[in-house]
C-alpha cells in the first residue's frame, strides 16, 4: 500500500449501523478503502451490499436517526472527517468532496432551473467562502460548466427546469454540479444505469476526460463490471457490508481469486472491451440484520470449507496490489 502523500482518501474500519424497530442493520461493517490522487477506484457489489451507504458515510450524509456511523476513521488529505463539526462539513462538501447521485430524475430539485442549481454551490463556495470568484462572474462560470459536460447551447439551457430535459442531459447536469470548484474526490453513484449504450459510452468518455483534465480522484460505485473495467484503475468488491476483495483492475479481472468475484465474472476472464453485467449468483443476498456467522458468503460459496462457517476471514495479500478476504488463501499462506 502506498504512502501518505499519494493517498487522498483513506477509510479505516468504517462501521455504519442502522437502528430500526426490527433490529440493528449493519450496513457497513468494517470497511477499509484507499484512493490515491488521480485514481479511480471502483466499488462493486450486488444491490443491498452497502456500497451506497459507504459513500454516504464518507460524506457524512447518513440520515441520523436511524443510521449512525459507529466507528472508524475517514481521512481526507490527512484530516479525519468524522471528527469535524457539521458546519465544517458544509465547507468540505461540494468543494473537497462531492457526489453524483444515481437517479437523475429525482436528484434535481424540480422547482428551480438548472442554472440556479449549478450556480448555488459556486456562489456559496467560490464567492462567499473562498472569494475566488466575483458574484458577477457566476453566470459565466455556470455556462462554462455546462460546456465542460458537453451540453449544447448552454446560454439557453441555463433557464430550463429539470423536467424539460432528457435523462442524458440531466446526467450531465449532475456531473456539472460537482465540477464547479476544486474537486478532490468525486463519488459517482451508479452514473450510468438506465441509460442506453451510446450515452453510457459518452458519459464514460466524459468522466475519463475530466479525470485527466482536473486530476480528480473518483470512487465509482456500480454493479456494472463493464464500466469498472473501462474506467477504473483499481476495484474493490463489497459484500454484505465488507470488502471482500481489492486490487488493481487487471489483476483482479485476469485472475480472480475470491470465489465471489469468480462467480461474478463468469464465464471467462477476457471480457475487456465488452460490457458485462454481473451475473446473479444463486441464493439470496444475506440480510444485514442477522448476517450468517463466519464468512458471510459461505452459504452461496461453491468452495466453502468448514472453517468458513465459523471464522470470519481476514484480508490477505495474494499478489502485489491484490488482496482477498477468503479462507482459501489464508491457508495457503500458512496463516
Amino acid at each position: 500500500m502506498a504512502r501518505s502523500k499519494d493517498v487522498l482518501l483513506k477509510v479505516e474500519g468504517l462501521k455504519t449501523y442502522f437502528y430500526t424497530e426490527e433490529g440493528v442493520v449493519r450496513a457497513v461493517d468494517g470497511v477499509d478503502l484507499e484512493i490515491k490522487r488521480g485514481e479511480i477506484l471502483g466499488l462493486v457489489g450486488e444491490s443491498g451490499c452497502g456500497k451506497s451507504v459507504t459513500a454516504l458515510s464518507i460524506m457524512r450524509l447518513v440520515q441520523s436517526p436511524p443510521g449512525r456511523i459507529v466507528s472508524g476513521r475517514i481521512l481526507l488529505d490527512g484530516e479525519d472527517l468524522l471528527k469535524k463539526s457539521e458546519k465544517e462539513m458544509w465547507k468540505i462538501r461540494g468543494t473537497k468532496i462531492s457526489m453524483i447521485f444515481q437517479d437523475p430524475h429525482t436528484s434535481l430539485d424540480p422547482a428551480f432551473t438548472i442554472g440556479f442549481q449549478i450556480a448555488e454551490p459556486i456562489e456559496l463556495h467560490q464567492v462567499l467562502e473562498r472569494k475566488l470568484l466575483k458574484k458577477e462572474d457566476v453566470p459565466k462560470k455556470v455556462e462554462e460548466m455546462l460546456s465542460l459536460v458537453k451540453i449544447p447551447d448552454p446560454g439557453h439551457r441555463v433557464n430550463e427546469y429539470p423536467h424539460q430535459l432528457s435523462g442524458g442531459v440531466k446526467r450531465r447536469v449532475m456531473i456539472a454540479l460537482v465540477l464547479s470548484g476544486q474537486r478532490a474526490v468525486l463519488r459517482a453513484d451508479e452514473p450510468t444505469t438506465a441509460l442506453d449504450v451510446t450515452i453510457q459510452a459518452q458519459i464514460l468518455d466524459l468522466l475519463r476526460e475530466l479525470r485527466h483534465k482536473l486530476k480528480m480522484s473518483v470512487l465509482m460505485i456500480t454493479h456494472n463490471l463493464g464500466v469498472v473495467a473501462e474506467l477504473c484503475d483499481r476495484v474493490a468488491v463489497m459484500y454484505a457490508g465488507h470488502i471482500g476483495l481489492e486490487g488493481v483492475i487487471m489483476a483482479v479481472v485476469s485472475r480472480p481469486r475470491h470465489p465471489y468475484t469468480r462467480a461474478l465474472l463468469q464465464p471467462g476472464p477476457s471480457f475487456i472491451g465488452k460490457r458485462k453485467r454481473l451475473r446473479t449468483i444463486p441464493g439470496f443476498v444475506p440480510s444485514l440484520l442477522s448476517p450468517p456467522p463466519g464468512c458471510k458468503f459461505h452459504p452461496r460459496c461453491s468452495e466453502a470449507m468448514p472453517i468458513c462457517k465459523k471464522v470470519f476471514p481476514q484480508m490477505v495479500r495474494v499478489a502485489k496490489n491484490h488482496f482477498v478476504r477468503c479462507h482459501l488463501y489464508a491457508r495457503r499462506r500458512g496463516k
Binding site: 462531492s98 424540480p110 456559496l124 427546469y161
Partner: protein, 314 residues
C-alpha cells in the same frame, strides 16, 4: 409557452358553467319538493285565500317548474334575484351587503389559520418523531376536536364577559368586531393546515434532491428554507384553497353566534323566517364561492408547479 397555463385556466373555467347550472337547478327544484304549500306558510295563519294566491303568483308557483327556472335564470343574469318576502328588500342588495362581510371574515380566519398552522407544521416536520412533533400535532388535534360553535361561546364568555375586552356580541363592522370570530374560525382550521404542511414537508424531506442539495455543501438552513419549503408549498397551497369551503360552512355558525353581518347569518335568519327565496339564493351564492375556491386551488397549483407552468418535456 404562453398558452400552457392560460389554456389550463380556460379549461377549468369552462367546466364551471355546467356545475353552476346543475346546482342552481337542484336548489331551485327544492322549493317544488317541499311538502305543504309554501305560499300559505309564507302568508301566515291569518291570511285569506286571496293573499295566498297573490303570494303564490309572486313566487311563481303557478307556472310549471322549467319555465319558472328559465325565467329565474334570466333574471339572475341580469342581477335581479327577486325580492325577499320577510325583509321587504331586493335580495340582490342584501347579498351585496353581506357577501363582502363573509369574505372578510373568511379571509381573516384564513390568515389566522395559516399564521398558526404553517409554522407549526414545518417545525413538527423538522423535529419529526420528537417531543416537539408530538406537541405540535397534539395542538393540531386539539384544535380540530374543539367544536367551533362551543369555542365561539367560550370565547365570548372569556373575552367578552369575564375579561371585558371585545364588544363580543357587537354586530358591528369594525376591526374589533372581527377579531374574535376570525380567531375562532381560524384556530379551528389551523389544525388541518398544520397537518397538511407537516405531511408535505416530510414528503419533500425524504426526496433524493434534498440529499443531493446537502451533498453540494449548502447550509442546512438553505436546504430547508429555499429548497424544501418551495417544493412543499406546491400541494399545500392547493389543499389550503380546497379548505376554503369549510370556512364558508363554518361562517354560518360563527357569524350567527357573533352576530357578524355576513351571508351565513343571513341564511339562518332566512331559515327562521321561512324566507325560501333568500335561503335558495344564499345557498346558490355559497355554491359559487365554492366553485371559485376550487378554481383558485387549481390555478395556484398550475402556477406554483413548474411542470405545469413551463410545459412538458421536449
Amino acid at each position: 409557452m404562453v398558452s400552457g397555463i392560460y389554456r389550463f385556466i380556460l379549461r377549468r373555467v369552462l367546466l364551471i358553467l355546467p356545475i353552476f347550472l346543475i346546482s342552481s337547478a337542484l336548489l331551485f327544484s327544492l322549493l317544488y319538493f317541499k311538502p305543504g304549500d309554501p305560499a300559505s306558510e309564507l302568508a301566515g295563519l291569518q291570511a285569506g285565500p286571496g293573499q295566498v294566491a297573490v303570494i303564490r303568483r309572486d313566487l311563481g308557483l303557478d307556472k310549471p317548474p322549467h319555465l319558472r327556472y328559465l325565467e329565474w335564470l334570466g333574471a339572475v343574469f341580469n342581477g335581479d334575484f327577486g325580492t325577499s318576502w320577510k325583509f321587504y328588500r331586493p335580495v340582490s342588495s342584501m347579498i351585496a351587503e353581506r357577501l363582502p362581510q363573509t369574505l372578510i371574515l373568511s379571509f381573516a380566519a384564513f390568515v389566522v389559520s395559516v399564521g398558526i398552522g404553517i409554522p407549526l407544521g414545518i417545525i413538527a416536520a423538522l423535529k419529526r418523531k420528537t417531543k416537539v412533533d408530538y406537541i405540535c400535532m397534539g395542538i393540531a388535534l386539539l384544535g380540530a376536536s374543539i367544536p367551533n360553535f362551543w369555542q365561539a361561546l367560550m370565547m365570548i364568555l372569556i373575552f367578552g364577559v369575564w375579561l371585558g375586552w371585545s364588544p363580543g356580541l357587537g354586530g358591528g363592522i369594525g376591526l374589533e368586531y372581527l377579531i374574535l370570530p376570525a380567531i375562532t374560525l381560524g384556530t379551528a382550521l389551523s389544525g388541518s393546515v398544520s397537518r397538511i404542511m407537516r405531511s408535505s414537508m416530510l414528503d419533500v424531506l425524504n426526496q433524493d434532491y434534498i440529499l443531493a442539495t446537502r451533498a453540494k455543501g449548502l447550509k442546512e438552513r438553505t436546504v430547508i428554507l429555499t429548497h424544501a419549503l418551495r417544493n412543499a408549498f406546491i400541494p399545500v397551497a392547493t389543499l389550503l384553497f380546497m379548505r376554503l369551503p369549510w370556512l364558508f360552512g363554518g361562517s354560518i355558525i360563527i357569524e350567527t353566534v357573533f352576530q357578524w353581518q355576513g351571508m351565513g347569518w343571513l341564511m339562518i335568519e332566512a331559515i327562521r323566517a321561512n324566507d325560501f327565496l333568500v335561503i335558495q339564493t344564499v345557498a346558490l351564492m355559497f355554491v359559487v364561492l365554492v366553485i371559485v375556491a376550487n378554481l383558485l386551488a387549481d390555478i395556484s397549483y398550475a402556477y406554483l408547479n413548474p411542470k405545469i407552468r413551463y410545459g412538458e418535456e421536449r
